[in-house]
């Protein structure tokens, strides 16, 4: 009797296994896509987060007011038309008819007004508040939304194409708890933090993004994001077919490239720039000569080729390549070239010898490629009598920490690294205007130049931006290192077609189909 029971159980178990495998086949047959990432979003509210990992998700749920093509020209989005007043202080947007939120409500000009009012409300505590510009008021006349500024802010329109400016529906923030309701290509289904996020295609979607071909509903029905922190496990998931699209490990990307079973995607429009910066308030790094020597010691080619496995490029400007006014060759003439011998000489003249090295910290966040880069950097610095100790944290806590560190005027001097991305060089303003991002603001002169470029447009603005970049580089407040630097690579199995990476490494799934 007992034995019989056991056999029955085993049969049931086998049946369950069969159902299990059958299930996984049927999942693959439906138009579902599974994407594995290393880090989860920390919020789905675009006004509460500024990490790339979060904005990649919000950008699927929310649309932007305007869109941008590969060449940086503006195109319609939620707004079908827009205009700027002569004085550059008033913007009007005509909101498109018949745009529906995921909950069925209509998205109109008053909805857009409510959304902007929320973004700039101090009570929202929006980390990207300064990117919205000096907005003084919003008003609605029929389909037209009017936004008034206290002074001209030329990057405003490009900001409205970016993933930080997703347009949340008013019903999303009507209650006490935020609900991810937007007008974007995917509807929110469920989210288990640090495990999975489920989205489904928005059947009524109308696309206006010029980077996307599909005019309507995304071809795939369900989109699941899984969080798999271990790169080893993520790669195994891709190889075993458990995931269709993954963030690959840098270490294996070159291997995947030469394997016809997989595809590699690298964002061309990342807008990302990796920088080194200094504790310029602390001796002896208050001396621009010493900072310059440290910059001259940094072997950026090795960072790109060894630490990042040759998958990124060195870059010379404080703003990412391909953004407005960025001229890498021009920046190269301002920055110091790699010259460890010259750098060592400067350090020795300043009294730092092999016996009496300058002791500093390299403060950084953990991230694939970056960790390796800091180790090479440490060795570079050792060659010019700078003894550096590496101190790392997770991305978010790194920036918490830097907020305090950048205020210090004594104690241990440090070099630190960071990455910034955007669709417009105006992010210089976010970073360097006092108090600046994590208190990295510089001085009155820089503040004035940064404000000035916001008021200018066209060539005059480009010239002003070059002036700022020249100032930052020649005084070695920053050493531009690489571009891009994070989340810019994706890998998929060969059956995935039409996957694209947009501006600021946004993930575009609208055109994705699965080849059987």
């Amino acid at each position: 009797m007992k034995k019989h029971h056991l056999r029955k159980n085993i049969l049931a178990l086998l049946a369950a296994v069969a159902v299990g495998t059958g299930l996984s086949i049927s999942i693959a047959a439906a138009a579902d896509l599974i994407v594995a990432r290393a880090v989860d979003a920390d919020s789905l509210d675009p006004d509460k987060t500024s990490t790339t990992q979060s904005l990649q998700m919000t950008n699927l749920i929310f649309d932007t007011m305007l869109t941008m093509d590969k060449n940086g020209s503006l195109h319609p989005g939620l707004a079908s038309e827009w205009s700027v007043a002569e004085d550059g202080k008033t913007y009007t947007f005509t909101i498109r008819d018949g745009v529906k939120c995921h909950d069925g409500s209509v998205f109109d000009a008053s909805g857009a007004k409510a959304r902007i009012d929320r973004a700039i409300d101090p009570a929202t505590v929006n980390p990207d508040r300064s990117l919205w510009g000096p907005i003084t008021g919003t008003s609605v006349e029929g389909k037209v939304l009017k936004v008034s500024l206290s002074e001209p802010y030329s990057p405003f329109l490009s900001f409205l194409t970016g993933i930080q400016a997703g347009f949340v529906c008013p019903s999303a923030f009507a209650g006490a708890d935020f609900k991810p309701i937007g007008t974007g290509p995917f509807k929110f289904v469920s989210w288990t933090r640090n495990d999975n996020l489920q989205l489904e295609a928005n059947a009524e979607y109308q696309n206006f993004n010029p980077l996307i071909e599909n005019p309507g509903k995304p071809h795939i029905d369900k989109l699941t994001f899984k969080v798999i922190p271990e790169a080893v496990a993520r790669m195994a998931a891709l190889r075993s077919g458990e995931a269709d699209v993954v963030e690959p490990s840098l270490e294996e990307t070159t291997d995947l490239k030469s394997d016809s079973n997989f595809k590699i995607y690298a964002a061309e429009l990342s807008g990302q720039q990796v920088l080194a910066a200094f504790s310029w308030k602390i001796k002896p790094l208050d001396n621009p000569e010493i900072r310059k020597a440290i910059g001259m010691a940094m072997n950026r080619d090795a960072y790109a080729n060894i630490a990042f496995e040759g998958l990124v490029n060195t870059s010379n400007c404080p703003v990412a390549p391909k953004l407005f006014a960025t001229d890498d060759e021009l920046c190269a003439t301002w920055g110091a070239e790699y010259d460890p011998d010259g750098a060592k000489l400067i350090m020795e003249n300043a009294g730092f010898t092999a016996e009496n090295p300058l002791k500093i910290k390299i403060i950084a966040h953990k991230l694939s490629g970056w960790d390796q880069m800091h180790q090479i950097m440490q060795q570079d610095l050792a060659a010019i009598n700078v003894q550096a100790e590496i101190e790392t944290r997770e991305v978010a806590s790194h920036f918490d920490h830097m907020t305090n560190e950048n205020e210090r005027t004594d104690g241990a001097p440090f070099v630190w690294t960071m990455g910034m991305s955007g669709v417009d060089p105006d992010y210089l303003n976010l970073l360097w205007k006092r108090p600046g991002f994590v208190n990295m603001g510089l001085n009155e002169q820089v503040d004035a130049m940064l404000d000035e470029q916001r008021r200018l447009s066209g060539d005059a603005r480009a010239a002003k931006i070059h002036e700022i970049e020249k100032y930052l580089i020649q005084n070695t407040y920053t050493v531009p290192l690489l571009s891009p630097g994070w989340n810019w690579l994706m890998a998929s199995s060969a059956k995935v077609e039409g996957f694209k990476l947009g501006f600021m490494v946004s993930l575009l799934f609208n055109d994705v189909t699965l080849k059987q």
Binding site: L250, D371, Q375
Partner: protein, 282 residues
């Protein structure tokens, strides 16, 4: 106590595993101590060889992603890993020992309260205590060592208390008490010498768990930071090469395994005598 240990070893017939453990431990300790003379390359020098070369006669354990010689790194890493282990064990033993002795000879109320507290902490796995502490203290070799040392305190306090309490029950202590010898002197002169050897035995057991904790912390990025060649840190930094260059993962992993194994083998056969945990938990 010495004789108890000896007879128990004889009784248990485990000399082979003890010998194996001792042999391994001696080789590992000697290799770490002599590492500066044994290393064929500078363990920190990048491009000492081509990147990611498989083990060969020239690069015994292969090279890592920076072209550093892994054999040299694992050798010198032994100093770091063993160093963390020894520092943590000695300080944990010292503090835990004092707490345990104090509990045993401090009078009823303090004894009960202290013992209760020790038992509470003792019910937590030590790796977890270290992890929680590092989360608050911040990463780095110093904080990791401190956290591991603290994580061992409950274990050592409990062990010392057990030994001291057993000793306390012996007639000679009763006699000494009657002779009005003060507690401090009593502990120093009579109790300490009698339990030291057992404590050293327990030290070896704490050592292997300290090494494992350290490698776990490094693996999670909360412990020793790269480019330090601590074994867990090498493993953590090289884990993404598991398919491309598995040797970066295999050799430091083996080093951890063998070290922990050797001390476990030594400690294990001796532990039954002194570990209160096996003497029936109430």
């Amino acid at each position: 106590m010495t004789s108890t240990i000896q007879t128990s070893v004889q009784r248990r017939h485990l000399p082979f595993s003890v010998a194996l453990g001792l042999g391994l431990a001696i080789v590992i300790i000697m290799a770490s101590l002599l590492s500066p003379y044994l290393m064929p390359f500078d363990p920190m020098r990048m491009a000492a060889g081509p990147r990611l070369t498989a083990p060969s006669m020239k690069y015994l354990f292969g090279t890592d992603e920076f072209g550093r010689d892994l054999f040299s790194r694992v050798l010198i890493g032994g100093r770091l890993s063993l160093g963390i282990g020894i520092t943590a064990v000695v300080s944990g033993l010292l503090v835990g020992g004092l707490v345990g002795l104090f509990a045993a000879f401090s009078g009823r109320t303090i004894e009960t309260v202290l013992l209760r507290l020790i038992d509470v902490l003792y019910s937590f796995p030590d790796t977890l205590i270290a992890l929680a502490l590092v989360a608050f203290l911040g990463p780095g070799i110093g904080n990791a060592t401190l956290a591991i040392a603290i994580s061992l305190v409950p274990f050592y306090a409990r062990v010392t208390y057990g030994l001291a309490a057993a000793e306390r029950a012996k007639p000679y202590i009763e006699a000494a008490r009657l002779a009005r010898i003060r507690s401090g002197r009593l502990v120093r002169v009579h109790v300490m010498p009698n339990i030291t050897q057992s404590l050293i035995v327990m030290g070896t057991l704490g050592f292997s768990s300290a090494i494992l904790s350290a490698s776990g912390l490094s693996f999670l990025g909360l412990g020793v930071q790269p480019p330090s060649p601590e074994w867990g840190a090498i493993l953590a930094a090289g884990r993404n090469y598991i398919t491309k260059a598995p040797w970066i993962l295999i050799f430091p992993g083996l080093a951890i395994c063998l070290t922990v194994l050797s001390f476990n083998l030594i400690g294990d056969s001796l532990r039954d005598i002194v570990d209160p945990r096996r003497k029936g938990r109430s």
